[in-house]
């Protein structure tokens, strides 16, 4: 007689915890009941992302790089589970390798993107990249796992914290990823993942006054409306693509700070 498997309850990922939606709602996706987040959950997720921002950006670049590498380790260990929820092993391996690639950028992008500037006055003048803050990510539907990783990794390697709206039709890989993140030394709140209806959640994320940038990779017909909402606090709007991998994907979520330091005896 075969054993009846124990199923998983698919929940949200906010501040390092796995709560149900405060609304008590679920929807069915990929044959499972999945939490259907509310706009209150969006606000909670943004608050937790803002709370984690100081800690995360304050860590050394070396340390952040090691945390990203640890994510790759945790994903590798769950390859089978991820393969079941994505297009298979190949996608999982691509996603793991992507984390490793971005992990290596943590202590290098500032050297590629920053400058020292020869001003015509006695100042040491330099320009350094800094994280913009809280980034909203509307994750692509396709590929659900690697597409999410392609958008999330460049955001957090730069010291930002993230609120992710998982793919609406294919949210399970995102939740599986949350479980990997929870065991990968990523401080609670650095990554928050919401599942639910994009049309219910994306406008609240795009219009939120404490979100600094938004990646509309998974948005489509609603892009004009989301970009209009984003103007409310001059958000940085990125139309990310799931197939991009470069240090300029990191740069899209960075601010440039220029400092004039006096030179004198």
């Amino acid at each position: 007689m075969s054993r009846l498997p124990v199923r998983k309850t698919y929940k949200l990922f906010i501040g390092g915890d796995f709560p149900r939606s405060e609304s008590g709602r679920t929807y069915e996706a990929q044959g499972q009941n999945v939490a259907r987040a509310s706009r209150k959950d969006v606000r909670d997720a943004v608050r937790s992302a803002r709370g984690a921002f100081g800690t995360w950006r304050g860590m050394t670049a070396y340390n952040r790089g090691q945390v990203l590498y640890r994510i790759a380790e945790m994903m590798e260990a769950r390859t089978e589970e991820f393969a079941d929820l994505s297009k298979g092993r190949k996608e999982v391996e691509a996603a793991v390798d992507r984390w490793v690639w971005y992990a290596g950028w943590a202590d290098k992008y500032a050297q590629v993107l920053g400058t020292s500037n020869p001003v015509a006055a006695p100042y040491f003048n330099f320009t350094i990249p800094e994280p913009t803050g809280v980034v909203g990510i509307v994750a692509p539907d396709e590929p659900a796992l690697d597409g999410l990783v392609a958008r999330l990794a460049p955001v957090i390697v730069g010291g930002n914290t993230a609120v992710v709206l998982a793919s609406e039709p294919a949210p399970l890989a995102a939740i599986e990823l949350a479980e990997a993140l929870a065991t990968a030394d990523v401080p609670g709140g650095v990554v928050n993942i919401l599942t639910g209806y994009r049309s219910e959640l994306a406008p609240w994320l795009a219009g939120h006054m404490d979100v600094n940038a938004i990646d509309l990779a998974g948005a489509d017909g609603e892009i004009p409306e989301l970009e209009r909402l984003a103007a409310e606090n001059v958000k940085r709007v990125v139309r990310g693509r799931a197939d991009r991998q470069s240090p300029y994907e990191i740069a899209a979520f960075l601010e440039l700070k220029t400092v004039w330091h006096p030179i004198g005896v």
Binding site: P224, A252, E255, L256, K257
Partner: protein, 498 residues
């Protein structure tokens, strides 16, 4: 006249500070009675048929009439820019492009006095500033970007840099020619063509710049200049033939532009307002810091987006700083912009003066303490006495809103943490100042301040090599430096907007 001004009129001017007038001659500037639009390399009559007067804010005297470009005019300018882009400019060898920009830089240097006088005449800023700051920096900006034009592949290795196309550029009235340089130089260096819209109240140096282009023999249509008010800017923003919009101005208008462009996929950079903190620690060189405070807020009548409009003084030195500051204020000479002794010129427009007066009145109503030095103001024109508010709470409008005038709000702090918290407590994030003799503190403060530019033991200093631009609601994108090229280039492997 407000109560404020009446009060000042009664105050005696300290006799020791009377200076004989030292006016710069206006003869060097020759103005037309009426200007058309500069489209396709020549001045054309506006199809709109409308003109409006442009004045000197120091005397309210009409200087000339300029065209109010309408939708059809903007369309013609965009057509000329597109034509120039596709038929020559973008395909021109990069070293030739570079040499055109070097020519422009040189001609600006040669004609700098003429431009400086006109800038002060039309905008109200002291000749000392237009002569020593605006003009040298504008020329330097062209010189800097001239050198980039044929070196772009070294700035962005492996990214195949190529021009975006036609850029619409909308600039403010506080540094008319300098903002023109900040916009046009990187755009042309990157191989784009442009339509520039100068501010409604300060079109004249941009129109004179057309003559520099003639002398430089720049191909027609590479730079087009359309004058007008906000309606002209709106036409430019929504024109489908434009690939990129660059705007410098208020946060309110910036947001409206971002909304207008939503969904269009057009590139956008915004350089918007600010409410910068200028932070003075107790170990700072106080006399130097006081000079920096004055330069931070009274430079260019406070019409500076990065002005140090919130002074944060460490409590232990509050009294000596305020005392020194007040004493220094009594020595500022307010008056004729063309007088070489003038420190603070005319407010740029009646509208701006009314806005400053309204905010200053709100400061008094909310309970802040006002100080204005004794000062005699000219009878005609728009003027505002350099003003300091003390006893300011963070919630007051004068501590929250951009005044864009010679008005300083003073707050205090005890610890570096408190200074950072107060400095960052604003939706803006353009600039900040830090005054301390401790290098490690400079860097730790610079690290924690949410601002695109941090000046240490200096303020309001600019350089073409130094990127400038904001965090948060002060905008996005950088002008100046290597980073200032990026908004005007298509680059491989980049979905970065702006």
């Amino acid at each position: 006249m407000t109560d404020l001004e009446r009060k000042q009129d009664r105050s005696p001017v300290p006799s020791g500070w009377d200076y004989a007038p030292a006016p710069e001659s206006r003869d060097i500037v020759t103005l037309e009675e009426r200007y058309g639009l500069y489209v396709g390399g020549e001045f054309v009559e506006p199809r709109s048929g409308e003109h409006f007067p442009t004045i000197s804010p120091a005397s309210e005297e009409q200087l000339a009439e300029v065209a109010q470009a309408g939708a059809e005019d903007v369309d013609l300018a965009v057509g000329a820019a597109r034509d120039a882009f596709e038929n020559g400019w973008s395909a021109l060898s990069h070293s030739e492009r570079s040499k055109y920009l070097f020519r422009i830089a040189r001609i600006l240097q040669e004609r700098s006095r003429e431009f400086a006088v006109l800038e002060s005449l039309n905008g109200g800023k002291p000749i000392k500033e237009s002569r020593d700051v605006d003009l040298p920096l504008a020329a330097a900006h062209f010189f800097y970007y001239a050198g980039w034009a044929d070196k772009l592949e070294y700035a962005f290795p492996n990214r195949r840099p190529r021009p975006v196309g036609v850029a619409g550029q909308i600039i403010p009235w506080n540094f008319p020619l300098l903002m023109l340089a900040w916009k046009i130089a990187p755009a042309l260096a990157a191989g784009n063509t442009v339509i520039l819209k100068p501010a409604e109240t300060t079109p004249l140096t941009a129109l004179l710049f057309a003559d520099v282009l003639r002398q430089a023999e720049l191909p027609p249509g590479v730079v087009n200049i359309v004058t007008g008010d906000g309606r002209t800017g709106a036409e430019l923003v929504k024109h489908p033939g434009i690939d990129k919009i660059a705007f410098t101005g208020s946060t309110e208008v910036g947001k409206a532009i971002q909304r207008e462009l939503a969904g269009s996929g057009k590139r956008l950079t915004l350089e918007l307002g600010g409410k910068a903190a200028n932070i003075i620690f107790d170990d700072a060189a106080l006399d130097q810091a006081v000079e920096g405070i004055v330069n931070g807020i009274y430079f260019n009548q406070g019409h500076v987006c990065c002005a140090g409009s919130r002074l944060l003084v460490q409590e232990s030195i509050y009294e000596p700083v305020i005392e020194k500051l007040k004493r220094r204020l009594t020595t500022l000479r307010v008056g004729d912009p063309l007088d070489k002794n003038t420190d603070v010129g005319a407010i740029n427009s009646k509208q701006q003066l009314e806005k400053i007066e309204e905010l200053v009145a709100s400061g008094e109503e909310e309970g802040a303490e006002i100080y204005q030095p004794p000062c005699r103001l000219p009878e005609k024109g728009y003027w505002f006495v350099p003003t300091v508010f003390t006893n300011v709470a963070q919630s007051y409008r004068i501590a929250q809103e951009e005044i864009f005038g010679p008005v300083l709000s003073v707050l205090t702090f005890r610890t570096p943490d408190e200074a950072v918290e107060k400095a960052n407590n604003t939706p803006y994030g353009l600039s900040a100042g830090v005054w301390t003799e401790k290098g490690s503190r400079i860097l730790s403060m610079a690290n924690r301040l949410e601002a695109g530019v941090v000046w240490a033991n200096t303020y309001n200093r600019f350089d073409p090599t130094s990127p400038f631009g904001g965090y948060k609601e002060s905008g996005f994108g950088r002008e100046g430096g290597l980073h200032g090229l990026e908004p005007y280039l298509e680059l491989d492997d980049s979905e970065v907007r702006g």
